[in-house]
Symmetry: C2
DNA sequence: CGGGAAGTTGAAGAGCGTCAAAAGTAGTGG
DNA sequence: CCACTACTTTTGACGCTCTTCAACTTCCCG
């Protein structure tokens, strides 16, 4: 992958394929191709798996907090994480929802730049930052992959700034539903109905809105015949065209 | 530099120092230490300078437009650039102001992910993306530096999302003035008075506000004895404490 | 079931946007 | 040097979107 030319990850999550004789748990990892580990061959992968430990989180359990010493970096392997920043009075901005294959652990002066916690139950791979850096020096393709992922995140961040700064509540919600749908499709799931696993509060904190406005806007879309709210947090998109037009302000 | 641990660039812009015998223009570059070029030794620098051309821009002149084929990447060497994204109806979100040493050219599927234009007169170094990628493969420290810069930008983007999603107009303007002041100090200039070189419209498009609100908020801070507006777009900070408290919502 | 959290709905209000006009600033040419 | 124009900034009045505060309903999970 070119480090500049950010192709959205076309690779789909593979079903577990554990060849007999594999000693590395990473070799069987279903999200390997989505993340930095996909850049490595079998032997290199084994070195990587030597420095990794698995972390399991319960719903709502924090992984780390902004300003904690940033000794580890992580890879989501199952579930969904949210990362966010707080203002002193408690106002919160969710800067992203992370899915299997996504990478966390960006730091600033040795401290995490944001907080991270599990939305539902989740599992992650934990790498010692120090040890991973040694491997980065030895395997340049790891670094290249990391750069590609960072570029991707940067493009997403800019799209989100456009949303936060210039879109209306309707446009924000429409964009959000489309984003969730497209992300699901990239992970090989179906894009409709959309699985909205996070709470209204989390959605509001991601879009710069209150829970009430999020709820009202959903209701409005329901009245529009744009969506139908299904049980279990699923949202059926009845008019994709409507949603796409709304998202772009048309 | 660790690719994860993003240290704010402490290096200051150096005055031009051209040793006799230098053949590479890069060797004399005053912002070299601030950007990827600082990762290279003299010989490597010469290879880099072989693939670079200089670009001069007049005030307001575009460098590239979102969706243009992304054949080049750039380094700002003088002046200030703004990068932005547009909605179909013309609403604009400025995602960043770039200063000497900053890097541009992130792409998505071979197309630029945002538009870029000069604010005042500016100059940049232009690299062919293709040729630079070859060098990246040969000089891993270039890639590491690039990753460090991308991580820095990512942290800044998250801070900006917090601002756009959760801060009030007053908090946004206060944060903006502090950001400009700190950036100037990092570049070795003095942080007070703050040199505000961009228009009210650009500020508004950066902070998710209208020009009118930007102007009104400046007026309000003036009445507060927090700032004084000086001719030439300079803003004198009279009470740093006020501004810092405002920025954090205290 | 039953209790608590999450979500929805309602009414009122604030903050920021919109529209309009005045004041300031800069550049141009006589 | 000043007048003229064009643009940017500031100020004012008003309106609308979204927030705030509150009550009610629905959904979970024990």
């Amino acid at each position: 992958m070119s480090p500049f030319d950010v192709k959205s990850t076309e690779a789909l999550a593979q079903p577990m394929r554990r060849a007999s004789g594999d000693v590395s748990p990473c070799a069987a990892c279903s999200v390997r191709q989505l993340t930095i580990c996909g850049a490595l061959g079998a032997e290199e992968l084994q070195e990587l798996s030597a420095i990794v430990t698995s972390v399991e989180l319960s719903p709502g359990e924090p992984l780390f907090h902004e300003t904690d010493p940033a000794d580890y970096v992580f890879n989501v392997t199952a579930g969904m994480m949210k990362v966010y920043k707080l203002l002193p009075d408690g106002r919160r901005q969710v800067t992203g929802f992370l899915f299997p294959g996504d990478f966390l652990g960006l730091a600033n002066h040795g401290e995490y730049a944001y907080s991270a916690e599990a939305v539902g139950p989740g599992t992650l791979c934990r790498f010692s930052r120090r040890k991973l850096e040694v491997l980065l020096g030895r395997f340049p393709q790891l670094e290249r992959r990391l750069l590609g992922m960072a570029s991707n995140e940067l493009a997403a961040a800019q799209e989100q700034m456009l949303l936060l700064g210039r879109k209306t509540a309707r446009e924000k919600i429409a964009s959000f539903l489309l984003l969730l749908s497209r992300q699901a499709q990239r992970r090989g799931q179906k894009g409709n109905p959309v699985n909205v696993l996070m709470s209204r509060t989390d959605i509001g904190d991601y879009l710069g809105l209150t829970t009430e406005t999020v709820s009202r806007t959903f209701t409005q879309f329901k009245g529009n015949s744009t969506i139908t709210l299904l049980p279990g947090g699923k949202v059926q998109v009845d008019s994709l065209k409507s949603l796409e037009d709304l998202a772009e302000g048309l």
